[in-house]
């Protein structure tokens, strides 16, 4: 609400602001931490050339984007070089591909806290007092001037990525080809954060605001006199792969067979974090940690970030594949992989992953020769199993000890070290078996083409951290294989050329997808602690511990499980349906919860259109999601009329009363449809060819991103996190969605 709106609301409810806060201002705090306009630019230069036996391409791209928030920006440089060389009568081909990219971005530390504050802060307070000092009111708990937060802190992150690949292809006798790839990638992050002395002295002990999931928010203890954090980590990966291909035609028969080997080594988070505090001057920022004096502070320790980040893992595979076709009419493919990963228990590192597929191209059959409808028609069926060895720590199968506190031993304070992770030598590959039946078709001489696929995908042995009785496992959990999950669905891809004349051409392609997700089981024969796990705790003010989702057999991921809103009682207080079906104004967390809808969409849509008229071209891309629901916890947190004296509320809470101390509780009231249709991108271009002597072509274009969204969703943007274990919760989602316009030119020489 604006200042006049909130003032009127309080007056109508017989309340008033504290004179500490009400300085007669009308501040739009969300605007106050944003730029009015943000400009971006991007430049790209490429050169290429070659001879009969070699070619090369080199390019350089530079981009500079200003973020919408004050102090946020991104600069990026990408350089690419690719060289191919043939030798020994073209029997040997060598390739070298090197890419280097470097980015440098600035952001606001504790961005989600800052954004939350910009939504909560009372509009009647000014950004600054007449004295020039920032306005603050620390008598109001967890209440920080968001402009002061933004202007008294910096967060800079630099990434650099070097990827190099060397490839060799050797043509051998007997229809054999040998391929070898050797690649190396190094990804370096270097981050610096500085909270200046104003920040550390005024905002100490604030809580961070992470995204909902399995872990909660935590209190941030700052060292006074400015606090700097540096973090530098390198991830490297090395890949060696070689394979031998035999490709042979015998009349109508064609066989292609491949055998190969690959070896990959990953080192992640090789580096360190350090946080220190107490600087003589704030402008040193995070650039010279040696000037800090952390030992001059009591109750502050230099810290080194999270424990156990460094990891090294290896993945080795042997693979073979045979494809056979008869006259491109009957096609058969079978493959098998033997994959080994160091992350599993010693006796379970290797897994076998077969797949088989058949296809029948009906359009090649004699009985199809006399029709004109189908240009191509192919029926397909396949079944395959894949393995997953990612998504958890590389040392998950091992017993690992860590710090568990300190204790008294013989007159001294002694470190207590014990198992923080239990060994699970039975940890093995998580497997996903996919069956797919599909048809590919081209109609009317290529004017209409498409594919329909029906699939059934079942993941078994899901790797998950099971809660275990601490009497057996004192750390309380074991990461093990157990649950299973199913995804069934249908996908349709269609591309049509409705109009194609010499001067005007319209091509349109549509993708539709429907998927049904269901958790079949979350148990392991030994561990029952995976089922009925409550998760996604947005931790809004006054309702810590109120989770909004549940992981449960028979339900999909993203199943909302929360209070059921049942209107207001005669005193105007929100009431909820209790576990016994009665109405209550004092519902119990976790007990009076009900199954609500879920975050899984019924339909995903993508629709691309391309129009070309003479020298003009127009691309339009629409995207949509339908049938999903979103738990709008952001809205709930701002829907607290009872505390409107201290924290701003949403405009549409205007019809509520301050007597309703329950209105903000997470409940079915805040579950909304998440359906939307977005004009994601539209681009209009004009191309001139052979301009003058040196310029081959010249294209001018204008592009708009995020031009409109049609949705009934009341949050900032219906497009929220849909991945992970807790999809579909809109929490602290205040990052302003931007609409961008881009003007550009492409010149080819």
């Amino acid at each position: 609400m604006t200042a006049p709106q909130l003032r009127a609301f309080l007056k109508a409810n017989g309340e008033a602001f504290s004179p500490n806060d009400d300085l007669g201002a009308n501040t739009n705090w969300q605007k106050a931490i944003e730029k009015d306009n943000a400009f971006s630019q991007s430049h790209n230069i490429a050169i290429s050339g070659g001879t009969d036996h070699s070619d090369y391409i080199a390019s350089l791209n530079y981009a500079n984007k200003e973020g919408i928030l004050l102090a946020s920006s991104l600069q990026r440089v990408i350089a690419r070089l690719a060289i191919n060389q043939s030798a020994i009568k073209d029997k040997v081909k060598l390739g070298l591909n090197v890419t280097y990219s470097n980015s440098n971005s600035d952001d606001v530390p504790y961005r989600s806290v800052t954004l939350l504050q910009s939504a909560l802060y009372l509009p009647v307070s000014p950004v600054k007092l007449p004295s020039g000092a920032y306005f603050e009111d620390f008598t109001n708990s967890a209440y920080y001037n968001p402009v002061a937060m933004t202007n008294n802190s910096t967060l800079n992150t630099k990434y650099s990525n070097l990827a190099g690949t060397l490839t060799a292809l050797v043509k051998l006798p007997f229809s054999l080809t040998y391929n070898m790839d050797l690649s190396y990638q190094s990804y370096i992050t270097n981050q610096g954060q500085y909270l200046d002395s104003y920040y550390t002295d005024n905002f100490n002990d604030m809580y961070n605001n992470p995204n909902p999931g399995l872990s909660g928010h935590s209190q941030q203890v700052f060292g006074q006199g400015g606090q700097a954090t540096r973090a530098a980590y390198t991830n490297t990966s090395t890949l060696f792969e070689d394979y031998l291909t035999w490709d042979k035609h015998f009349g109508e028969h064609h066989i292609n067979a491949v055998v190969g080997y690959s070896w990959q080594d990953f080192t992640n988070n090789d580096g360190f974090t350090v946080t220190t505090a107490n600087f003589p001057a704030d402008n040193i920022s995070f650039n010279n940690l040696a000037l800090s004096n952390p030992y001059g502070l009591t109750g502050f320790d230099v810290t080194f970030g999270a424990d156990g980040l460094y990891s090294q893992s290896r993945l080795i595979s042997d693979f073979g594949r045979v494809t056979y076709d008869y006259n491109q009419k009957y096609l058969l493919q079978a493959s098998i992989r033997r994959d080994g990963s160091s992350v599993f228990g010693a006796d379970h590192q290797w897994g076998y992953f077969p797949s088989v597929g058949v296809a029948w191209r009906l359009s090649q059959e004699r009985f199809m020769l006399n029709q004109n409808l189908f240009t191509d028609l192919k029926l397909r069926a396949s079944y395959g199993v894949t393995g997953n060895a990612t998504g958890f720590s590389a040392y998950t199968a091992q017993s690992i000890s860590g710090n568990l506190g300190t204790y008294y031993y013989d007159g001294t304070t002694t470190a207590a070290l014990g198992a923080t992770q239990e060994a699970n030598p039975a940890l093995k590959w998580e497997k996903t078996a996919t069956s797919d039946i599909g048809v590919d078709f081209t109609l009317l001489k290529g004017k209409v083409g498409g594919a329909i696929d029906v699939y059934n995908k079942t993941t078994t042995g899901m790797i998950y951290s099971y809660a275990v009785d601490p009497i057996l496992v004192p750390s309380g959990s074991v990461t093990a294989n157990g649950g299973s999950m199913n995804n069934k669905g249908i996908e349709l891809a269609l591309s049509v050329i409705p109009v194609a004349t010499k001067t005007f051409k319209w091509t349109s392609s549509l993708n539709l997808a429907h998927n049904t997700n269901k958790i079949i089981s979350l148990k392991n024969p030994l561990f029952s602690g995976g089922d009925s796990v409550l998760l996604a705790d947005p931790e809004g003010a006054g309702q810590s511990g109120s989770t909004v989702e549940i992981l449960k057999s028979g339900k999909p991921l993203g199943q909302f499980f929360s209070l059921e809103y049942a209107g207001q009682n005669s005193s105007g207080v929100s009431q909820y349906v209790s576990s016994t079906g009665k109405l209550t104004t004092t519902p119990t967390q976790g007990v009076d919860y009900h199954y609500l809808s879920n975050a899984q969409p019924k339909l995903l849509l993508g629709w691309a259109n391309n129009f070309r008229y003479q020298k003009f071209d127009l691309n339009i891309f629409l995207r949509g999601t339908f049938g999903n629901h979103i738990f709008n916890a952001t809205r709930a947190d701002l829907f607290r009329p009872a505390t409107a004296q201290y924290d701003n509320i949403l405009e549409d809470a205007v019809h509520e009363t301050t007597a309703d101390y329950n209105s903000y509780l997470y409940s079915s009231r805040f579950v909304e449809s998440g359906s939307y249709l977005r004009l994601d991108n539209a681009s209009l271009g004009y191309t001139l060819r052979n301009v003058g002597e040196y310029i081959k072509s010249l294209r001018f274009y204008v592009t708009g991103n995020n031009l409109f969204v049609i949705t009934g969703y009341r949050g900032i943007d219906p497009e929220i996190n849909q991945g992970g274990l807790a999809p579909g919760v809109d929490y602290n989602n205040f990052y302003p969605k931007t609409r961008t316009f881009l003007l550009g030119a492409n010149i080819s020489f």
Binding site: L404, G405, V468, L472, P474
Partner: protein, 545 residues
């Protein structure tokens, strides 16, 4: 020639592909895996630590609440919604708890974790520590005794509990009957006894000695009649007490220094051990409690001190102050010559000089939230006067006294653990006693009164008088009854987490006090929490829940 050359290349390629490296083992160079920890004697001491950190983890706060707020000793009502905490403290007072009460969950997992850690550490030491290491068998016996103590607490709280002693097993056990658990605890302590140290010194402080084991057995035998529904073992209890008494290593703290054993510099911190201390939980504000967080300390000054007395005690934070006793418990302190009366803060409050009043300046409305006069914001200064009764003025249903000065001054406060002005935080340096010599004397007296045979020339009345001589200047008792032993225990063990156990053993737990009228004997055992039933599907909920 060319063909031969081709064959050689082919053979070479195939060999290189299929004999390539298939070695998946990656050395772990960044974690404490069993290969590197624990390997030497310093590491074995560090590896024993987690069980002691865990024992400290909830002993001082939540275990204290379970054993105390469920009795007439202390009450923790809400103050204007603060401290309501989903009614968990209210339920302890009314005996209206259910398996969803957060304390059930934390107590079950706390005692289970101590047991699990002890089992794990015993196996680790047993397998990995060289048998030549001095003290190896003592370290293992100490862990075994701590595990038995955790079993005693778990069985005392929850009745039938599972006996798990196999490290590395993922197979849950069904709950064993309470009597079986009691027998298991006895056999475990007896098995550990020969290897435990008989030295009572700074070197063994905070860990189990032979006398910890005897004190544990005495407590078990004294309650055996209740735990096992039948067999009385009074003479076993007396024998265990005698083993402590005969050691000559313990004595009663004289009256003049009674409170020293609960002070911030108690335990080895003042250079000598407290003469009554048999087993204590060492506390220190600088200890890190790992996963147990800030409650893994002694927090009595946070819960018990009036908010207005921060300056009086020179403490470095404003106490929260929701906890007090109720008049029916304070009534046990009727002997004006008893030093233990001084643990209570009652009535008008004065600074340390005993003359200067403790005053608070507030508004008329701040003093009394139900003020209806014409000047609610008028300044009001008054001398703090702690009143004995707890009155749920704001709302009985939500256990709420209100959030004004009147409400904050309700209830007499216990400052037995004298506030720690040396601590920068709410955490206190005051070690928490588990077994004290005075408990041994009163246990022996009680066992004699209940039918055991007196030994060492001592009688129930001589034992009681031995203690009273160190607590009061009133004349010695001529005779003693079970009732007077109970009353003496109330005076002696306030805030030492034994009162629920005492009330049950004396058959008083079904009585009415404060706002509580519940008389259901099934409430002598707490419900098994929801998550425990989920994690161990072999458990069966206790009767009545």
């Amino acid at each position: 020639m060319k063909k031969t050359f081709n064959y050689i290349i082919m053979a070479g390629l195939l060999t290189s592909m299929f004999c390539s490296c298939h070695k998946l083992s990656v050395p772990i160079t960044s974690e404490l895996t069993p290969n590197v920890f624990p390997q030497d004697s310093a590491q074995f001491i560090q590896a024993e630590g987690p069980v002691y950190v865990a024992l400290r983890g909830s002993y001082g706060v939540e275990y204290f609440f379970m054993q105390t707020l469920s009795t007439d000793e202390e009450i923790l009502p809400a103050r204007g919604g603060n401290w309501y905490n989903s009614g968990e403290n209210q339920q302890l007072h009314y005996h209206s708890w259910n398996s969803g009460n957060a304390y059930m969950e934390s107590m079950w997992s706390w005692t289970s974790t101590i047991i699990g850690l002890a089992t794990q550490e015993m196996a680790l030491l047993n397998e990995d520590e060289p048998s030549t290491t001095a003290g190896k068998s003592t370290s293992i016996a100490e862990l075994r005794t701590v595990r038995a103590f955790a079993y005693l607490m778990m069985m005392d709280l929850f009745g039938n509990v599972p006996i798990d002693t196999v490290s590395g097993s993922f197979v849950s056990q069904p709950a064993s009957p309470r009597a079986t658990v009691a027998a298991f605890i006895e056999s475990e302590v007896k098995a550990a006894l020969p290897y435990l140290s008989s030295t009572v010194s700074i070197a063994t402080y905070g860990r189990a000695t032979k006398y910890t084991a005897y004190a544990l057995l005495a407590k078990l035998y004294l309650n055996d009649n209740y735990y096992t529904a039948g067999t009385a073992r009074w003479n076993d209890c007396i024998a265990a007490c005698d083993s402590v008494i005969n050691s000559g290593l313990f004595s009663l703290q004289p009256m003049s220094t009674y409170f020293a054993q609960f002070a911030y510099n108690n335990g080895p911190k003042n250079g000598t051990l407290d003469p009554e201390s048999i087993f204590a939980i060492p506390e220190n504000p600088t200890f890190s409690s790992g996963p147990w967080g800030f409650r893994g300390t002694n927090l009595h000054q946070r819960y018990d001190l009036p908010r207005s007395e921060k300056a009086k005690y020179h403490i470095n934070f404003t106490p929260s102050a929701p906890e007090s006793t109720i008049p029916s418990y304070y009534a046990y302190f009727y002997d004006s010559n008893d030093v233990r009366n001084n643990q209570w803060l009652t009535g008008l409050q004065y600074l340390e000089d005993g003359v200067t009043p403790v005053t608070v300046t507030t508004t008329n409305l701040g003093y009394n939230q139900f003020y209806t006069g014409s000047d609610p914001s008028g300044v009001y200064t008054y001398q703090v006067n702690l009143t004995p009764d707890i009155i749920l003025r704001q709302d009985v249903a939500s256990f709420d006294c209100g959030n004004d000065e009147i409400a904050w001054n309700m209830g007499y406060r216990c400052a037995k653990f004298y506030p720690d002005s040396t601590s920068p935080s709410t955490a206190m340096n005051n070690d928490i006693p588990v077994f004290r010599y005075s408990d041994i004397l009163l246990e022996k007296a009680e066992a004699i009164l209940r039918g055991g045979t007196a030994t060492l020339g001592q009688s129930a009345v001589s034992l009681a008088n031995e203690l009273r001589a160190a607590r009061t200047t009133s004349t010695a008792w001529g005779s003693v009854t079970l009732d007077s032993i109970y009353n003496e225990r109330c005076r002696e063990f306030t805030q030492e987490s034994w009162h629920r156990n005492d009330m049950i053993r004396f058959g008083l737990y079904e009585g009415a006090w404060g706002f509580k009228t519940d008389a259901n004997p099934q409430h002598e055992i707490y419900p098994i929490p929801f998550t425990a039933l989920q994690l161990n599907t072999k458990l069966v909920q206790n009767p009545g829940y």
